[in-house]
Symmetry: C2
Subunit: 122 residues, 2 copies
Amino acid sequence: MAEAKSIRLSEKLSAVPAFWSPRIVETVDGYDVKVVKIVGDFVWHSHADADEMFLVLGGSFRMDFRDRAVDLVAGEMIVVPRGVEHKPFAAQPCEILLLERQGLVNTGDAPASERTRAAERI
Amino acid sequence: MAEAKSIRLSEKLSAVPAFWSPRIVETVDGYDVKVVKIVGDFVWHSHADADEMFLVLGGSFRMDFRDRAVDLVAGEMIVVPRGVEHKPFAAQPCEILLLERQGLVNTGDAPASERTRAAERI
């Protein structure tokens, strides 16, 4: 087992090479803690059997739902319940911490696209 | 199912009534996202079958292990693996986000004490 170590999230984020490419920074039981940088629009999708947590570390973004939208700034978080269609959008670059069950596909039930990424460890 | 909403962690923390009293702010699948304010020393303990994540939101603290210690400041996180004895210590008040499997007892395998708390939702 790896020794527990301190992880500086800003350092991890500065090593992320591209937008919309989540990177795994640590694992808690069967869940991945990831960091991601986003800008612009994602694709509409849902995860049939997994909730998904977004915590804003820097900047701001909007979580679009089919019937409304929720604005989030640094220090704020949201959990998207399983089965609920959603689409993140950021007008400016935004840094986010994600918590998701291991193996979750970032584009969920949407057709695979250029946004579909398997998260690697960073 | 409750509608996904934005949660401002600083607001939640300012409503926490006491040190060492974790409060649940949201749930991701079977995991609780909690906030806690700590100062001083906790008790040595471990969780036989659950990893535990600590993310510093404000201030700093030290995670003591039996053979070493890890200092953490705001923006840094650590995951304590299952079965590993640990003891948080904060010289000054520190604000932390926790991620733990639902039902986890904060003092783990240590005898119940004044530090033992069942986390309520806030």
